[in-house]
Symmetry: C2
């Protein structure tokens, strides 16, 4: 129930050539407080309810609990979500022995592409593909919970 993840911006769309799986994701939040985020997600034809705690100092490690929810129940729960539902396509791109999950956002977060990699430990090494950009692990504004309230298009460059 502890996740270790690092998050990066993505420089180009060439990663799409290496993708082995894609899913449309729609998600909203029943709480966007970083101390106790509650997320409702529909990924493909499956629903999920996910609770996350606050990140560690580095932002790498975070408590995460998830349960599968029938999609029609997830749709009902989404209606209760705070304003700011997020839509994105998730690409799965293998790289060495790891898998990058890359989210291309739409709507008010259009233009943002973010890659995440799950690790066994905070200092585990991994290959860095050429499309991988700046690390943004632990930066609040890149949390989906924050993107739902203050989307990418509202950011001042």
């Amino acid at each position: 129930m502890i996740e270790i993840e690092r998050k990066f911006l993505v420089n180009s769309k060439v990663f799409k050539d290496e993708s082995i799986n894609t899913n449309r994701i729609v998600q909203g939040f029943l709480n966007t407080d970083p101390l106790r985020t509650v997320r409702v997600r529909i990924k493909g034809d499956t629903g999920f309810l996910t609770v996350k705690g606050i990140g560690s100092d580095l932002g790498t490690t975070r408590f995460e609990w998830e349960t599968v929810v029938p999609v029609e129940e997830a749709e009902a729960l989404l209606k209760l979500a705070e304003p700011g539902v997020i839509e994105k396509i998730r690409y799965e791109v293998p790289c060495g022995k790891h898998l990058f999950e890359i989210d291309e956002f739409f709507g008010d977060n259009s233009g943002l592409i973010v890659a995440e990699i799950e690790l066994e430990s905070e200092d585990e090494a991994f290959e860095t593909p050429q499309w991988l950009g700046e690390e943004v692990t632990g930066i609040n504004k890149y949390y989906n919970s924050q993107l739902s309230k203050k989307p990418f298009k509202t950011w001042i460059p």
Copy 2:
């Protein structure tokens, strides 16, 4: 997923003689916003995660979604809850063809006893036992989510 319930104060403890089941309940909230309450409950040795929407005008009818959670996972989720965990004993008291669920609160809500009855429709008739007091359906301060933030002992008489 729509619950119809009415809630009453309880005048005396004689209801305990008619109880057919009791459970200790510990619960906390991942969100206390009445628009999207998220509750973690441990009842006996079972965990639950429950999402409720806002009540109807009368407060009788409310969206409710619940899933069972292993108790050790519920304990982990409780650690993320907002301050103000609630402890109570729930008594189940049959009355005619209905069942009253009566919560006797402890800790900062000690002294408060509340009975709830689930109905098929907002205007369904039911027997009123002699220990049943004033109706408090839809009054915000009696919601457990509000009791966790502003407990009974802080109320001004």
